[in-house]
């Protein structure tokens, strides 16, 4: 999840009309290619998931060659989907509307698996997974991201989590300790205050705010803080209500209030830019920001292979440390987790081959390549210790692997995005208007979510 997120250009209406047109369009034509061969189709993000399109081709062509060599009686048909995060979900949902166009295997973003499975599109995989040794290496939390109504519908193929990056040169200049190990949020704020006092031209903290990056901004920003707060609940399963006010949310928004009201945040044009989440990569390399709440892929991006941006001295300058919890409570590691999964279509005619394909893609080497080329942390806990992964971007990959099992996954409901947008607006208000109070920001969020989902769907946790 690295690339600049291209925005949808079609108006909703034309997109809708297009969608209507697609419903009746013909199926994937390759199915009739070879009567004697079984054709398996796999749909995946072409431009968004991997760091470059060349790497997308390299990985998927490799999978195709490997699969067809292993199963001479089968053909793998690649169905790349261009566009950004939302586009992949939108196009996949259109493909799934007809069993003729539904891909046998698909790469699906973790937050929408629940919606695809509840549509009846996906095949439960529990019986296949039962015997697989590699599956047992997945942390429980990640195994659980594809589980709905007790059945597992998806298998992870790479995660994104978050950590703190800090500029060691700037820390030294400001007289701060290096290496730096913040134990709670106050440690972060105090370090930022020192930076602000000693190095007035440096941005003390990059912390995503506002709605220009959509849920990405939450996953790489406020979501991490909420995960480390005293009450991290987003969706109250007991009452089936969305939490729009809680001590946890107030702790998060209070942190935002401190950062932005004390002038320790980045400028608005960068924060509210459509490509906001990728801007700190450059700012850190340029030595313009001291502390960054950032995603695991930064280290990989600075390598010679990805070069986005190239930064040969990264390891000498950019330190990395897990994000602590609000008050240092155990495990004192807080992060969101979000990634991509493989799922098998409920309507596939060859579940056997589909599963064989998933297995093949989950092989060690394919997962390591996917992780390095797409900026992922592999879910498999054996792989994360492999030198091929760890040494690809040291020390960053080791830390992102370390924090992964503590990750918190967002609720798998369509309404989560509404809640997320509410939180985005609250953080945006705090960033844009420094005199916004935490109460006011809670009000913004609560107003937005209850307006969108009805006031009966939200609650306040004490």
């Amino acid at each position: 999840m690295v690339q600049y997120k291209p925005r949808h250009l079609a108006s909703s209406f034309t997109a809708l009309a297009m969608g209507v047109g697609l419903l009746g369009s013909s199926g994937i034509s390759g199915r009739a290619l070879a009567a004697d061969k079984t054709v398996i189709s796999v749909a995946y993000g072409e431009t968004y998931v991997f760091d470059t399109e060349d790497l997308t081709k390299k990985w998927w062509n490799g999978v195709k060659a490997e699969f067809e060599a292993k199963f001479p009686d089968a053909t793998l048909q690649l169905v790349p989907i261009g566009g950004g995060y939302d586009d992949i979900t939108n196009k996949l949902s259109l493909l799934y509307r007809s069993s003729r166009t539904a891909p046998d295997v698909a790469q699906i973003a973790t937050p929408v698996i629940g919606q695809f499975s509840s549509s009846g599109y996906l095949l439960p995989l529990d019986s296949y997974l039962a015997d697989e040794a590699w599956w047992k290496q997945f942390p429980k939390v990640i195994q659980g991201e594809g589980v709905f109504q007790g059945k597992t519908y998806a298998v992870n193929t790479g995660e994104n989590d978050s950590q703190l990056y800090y500029n060691m040169d700037l820390f030294k200049k400001a007289g701060l300790p290096v290496p730096w190990t913040p134990h709670n949020w106050n440690d972060i704020l105090n370090a930022a205050r020192t930076i602000k006092a000693k190095l007035p031209h440096i941005i003390p903290v990059w912390l995503n705010a506002g709605s220009s990056s959509g849920d990405n901004g939450i996953l790489q920003g406020a979501g991490n803080l909420l995960a480390g707060s005293t009450v991290p609940t987003i969706y109250d399963k007991k009452t089936q209500k969305w939490v729009v006010d809680s001590p946890g949310l107030r702790e998060v928004l209070d942190f935002y209030h401190s950062v932005y009201s004390e002038g320790m945040g980045a400028n608005l044009s960068d924060l509210f830019s459509p490509s906001a989440v990728t801007i700190p990569l450059t700012l850190i390399a340029q030595g313009k920001v001291a502390i960054t709440f950032g995603s695991n892929y930064y280290g990989g991006n600075w390598t010679k292979l990805i070069c986005s941006p190239c930064w040969a001295d990264a390891t000498k300058v950019a330190g990395v440390v897990p994000i602590p919890t609000v008050d240092g409570h155990s495990p004192d590691i807080a992060t969101t987790v979000g990634g991509w999964d493989f799922a098998v279509s409920a309507s596939t005619k060859s579940p056997h081959y589909a599963w064989e394909l998933v297995k093949l893609m989950e092989s060690d080497i394919n997962q390591i390549n996917a992780a390095n080329w797409a900026g992922f942390v592999p879910a498999n806990q054996l792989i994360v210790k492999e030198p091929a992964f760890v040494d690809f971007a040291p020390p960053y990959n080791a830390v992102s692997a370390q924090v992964l099992p503590y990750g918190v996954i967002s609720p798998a409901s369509g309404d989560y995005l509404v809640w997320s947008h509410g939180l985005q607006e609250a953080t945006g208000a705090l960033a844009q208007h420094p005199n916004t109070t935490v109460d006011a920001a809670i009000g913004v969020m609560s107003d937005y979510v209850s307006n969108q989902l009805d006031s009966s769907a939200v609650e306040t946790l004490k």
């Binding site: 909703s12 209507v20 047109g21 799934y96 044009s269 960068d270 830019s273 945006g428 969108q452 009805d454």
Partner: protein
């Protein structure tokens, strides 16, 4: 408008048919059939379906993605009670009013007049610039204005601070960007309108001792009124469809400051996956566009005598 012989006919009769030259016969119907079918299949069908989707519970993905059903007035009820919708409607009106009606028309007219009077090289340069601005894809125009108006951009440098003008005055900036990118079109339309104002009529005004301003206000503007009205309506429709400009510059933000209806509709349908509600919001856009399109067709109905004005809009 005073009644004129044969000028007002029923809409179902073409003037030719009324003159007895041509009747709609079986062959005519046959020839119209493909176009009619195309219209039904490509336009009326999808639009009708979109209106239906607006009152269902269809989602982009999820349990109701395929098994959606009619939900009566539920979505309409939500629409009426949705503060963001009314806010969005207001923002849409501001965006269309400020940029399309006022901005584009006035700037377009000023440019058109300038083009008429300027020396050749200036005319060529200015004409080329505004037409290029108009020809630029919305993405380019949006990115240009984004860079222009955020911190470090020309605008904030000119204002002498590192303020972020785009986020401080989002609606103003997106209106300006829309004006900038549509003024070229407006200029072309109004320029050709200006050329239809007979030079001798203006000279006649001059002979009577009218000042330049009096000639412009009392002669040029009223004579160009049909062109101006047409232009306003066209630019309004263009602006309503100019989704990408705002989406790229602000995505409707900050907060909901530039959340015009097309953006809100997109957000509901394709970001929150609430296809039905997104469709309903899209339907509102369709209705607004239809009103303007209807007015446009009415105003641009050809008149018989050259530059004869349309009279008061009935």
């Amino acid at each position: 408008m005073r009644p004129e012989n044969g000028e007002r006919r029923g809409w179902w009769k073409s003037s030719a048919a009324a003159d007895g030259e041509q009747q709609l016969d079986a062959v005519g119907i046959l020839l119209l059939l493909p176009a009619t079918l195309l219209l039904v299949v490509m336009f009326i069908g999808p639009v009708g379906f979109a209106f239906y989707l607006g009152v269902t519970n269809i989602a982009l993905v999820g349990p109701t993605a395929q098994h959606f059903h009619f939900t009566g007035l539920k979505n309409l009820h939500r629409l009426v009670n949705d503060r963001l919708f009314w806010e969005s409607l207001k923002l849409t009106a501001i965006f269309l009013g400020a940029s399309a009606v006022v901005g584009v028309t006035i700037i377009g007219m000023a440019l058109a007049v300038l083009m008429q009077h300027a020396v050749t090289w200036l005319r060529t340069v200015v004409g080329a610039i505004v037409v290029v601005a108009w020809m630029l894809p919305p993405i380019t125009a949006a990115l240009l204005w984004y860079a222009f108006s955020t911190t470090g951009g020309t605008l904030s440098l000119l204002s002498g601070s590192d303020s972020d003008i785009l986020n401080d005055f989002p609606m103003t900036i997106v209106c300006l960007a829309n004006i900038w990118s549509t003024a070229g079109f407006s200029m072309l339309v109004l320029s050709s309108g200006l050329r239809t104002v007979p030079a001798e009529v203006l000279e006649a005004g001059k002979m009577e001792g009218a000042s330049r301003w009096q000639i412009f206000r009392s002669l040029t503007l009223p004579i160009m009124r049909p062109t101006i009205v047409t232009n306003v309506l066209l630019v309004t429709l263009l602006s309503l469809a100019n989704f990408s400009l705002i989406y790229i510059m602000t995505a409707g933000g900050p907060g909901n400051a530039t959340n015009i209806l097309p953006i809100y509709s997109y957000q509901q349908a394709f970001q929150f996956n609430k296809l039905a509600y997104g469709a309903l919001l899209g339907d509102v856009v369709v209705i607004i566009a239809t009103v303007f399109a209807y007015l446009y067709v009415r105003v641009s109905r050809p008149s018989r005598a050259g530059y004869r004005p349309q009279g008061k809009l009935a």
